[in-house]
């Protein structure tokens, strides 16, 4: 438990640094931006208490906001994503399979399970983020398009990072 706690803190710090130094400087056509930092929320342990889930999501979001000078929008999007996580986990479960593993991973639950789980949560986050950023509905479809493209981009990164750092333990 202590080990997992430290691991998550480290993941928290590393993801913030990677996000603000490297990923924020990546532009594809000045349009699409990956937000890999949500990987932190995706990979929190199953047994994380609700309050800790929400508070750490808020801290994660607000840290990114501080660096990007976007007060509040990353925090709002990340908290919303964290709020939906238990619901999504519940609806994707079939039986008591979560007890075998401590956290979501491709190695533990297979590619398609992890893909579905990630794509839903990332999309919730990105959709909120992009509409809050524009703060109006005039560019409705352009914003939707950006949210979808960035979701794809973030998802690819999440899967790559999964394969590199979370060796299948089965």
């Amino acid at each position: 438990m202590g080990n997992s706690f430290i691991k998550n803190i480290l993941r928290f710090i590393i993801l913030i640094l990677v996000q603000v130094t490297i990923l924020d400087n990546i532009n594809f056509g000045g349009y699409v931006n990956p937000y890999l930092y949500v990987y932190f929320i995706l990979l929190l342990p199953f047994e994380v208490p609700g309050w800790l889930l929400l508070i750490s999501a808020f801290l994660m979001g607000i840290s990114i906001d501080v660096f990007e000078n976007t007060m509040g929008i990353n925090a709002a999007a990340t908290v919303l994503m964290a709020f939906f996580r238990p619901v999504i986990l519940k609806s994707l479960s079939s039986g008591k399979e979560y007890e075998k593993m401590d956290k979501p991973s491709i190695g533990g639950f297979g590619f398609s399970w992890f893909f579905t789980y990630s794509v839903i949560l990332i999309f919730i986050h990105h959709l909120t983020l992009f509409y809050l950023e524009v703060f109006r509905f005039t560019h409705f479809f352009a914003t939707l398009q950006r949210a979808i493209l960035s979701t794809i981009f973030t998802l690819i990164l999440v899967i790559i990072v999964q394969y590199i750092f979370e060796k299948p333990s089965k």
């Binding site: 501080v66 660096f67 000078n69 976007t70 007060m71 929008i73 964290a82 809050l132």
Partner: protein, 273 residues
Amino acid sequence: MRHFFAYIFKHYFFFLFLILELLSFSFILQNNFQNAAFLNSTGKFTGTIINSYNNITEYLSLKKANSDLIKDNEMLRNMLAEKSGKKWNFVNNYISDSSFRYIGAKVIKNSINRQKNYMMLNRGLKDGIGVDMGVVSVDGVVGTVIQVSENYSLVMSVLNISNRINARIKKNGHTGTIEWDGKNYRKGILTDIPTHVILYKGDTIVTSGNSSVFPENVMIGTVDEYFSEKGHKFNKAIVDFSVDYNNVYYVYVISNLMKEEQLKLQEGTGDGK
């Protein structure tokens, strides 16, 4: 009352979620209305981290930065040659030019892929930078300073959907407004063009000098496409920005020494702010 607390406790997840979202939204609203970010209280910390990262990565962009500086020097030398008869006054890195003073700065953080893009510069209050000063690069207009801390300043980039710049069509002197629609980082929109003015591809758009933020005749871009819509009072044009905002490394912050005087005069007429 006990039931109430029991209820809250039972659904604490939902209520905590609500509290955190309200908190986030209060930040967002504050930010949207004051149009100010968070530089002052956190600037020192984030500025230090961003600056040290920039110290590492700036080597990667040295080539472009050098060519920019050479281009800039060349332009200054030409100007010097032209005006060699007149009296010119150099103080450190400031070039004194009638009422405008230029302060060189390095861009330590920049983005182009958001709807509201900002830049952070490595110069601040102690270098004489203040809010509402214009920022230009070798190639043209870059943005406006919106916040300053002791050592850093935050610039609202031209690539910001809230940004408006007073522009002028160079060939005939008519004015308009340059804005950005949040789509393509190479293209802006020139609005408020009087209908009788016809523009062609390649026409030059510069700053009008009406706003006291930018001097006159700073390059903004060239016309790419011109739309005249029937029944509209004003026409629109799509403009290719002269600055590649993805490649801006060194900029000049423009401080207008006559600004206070200009604003005071405007206040006197009752329609200024």
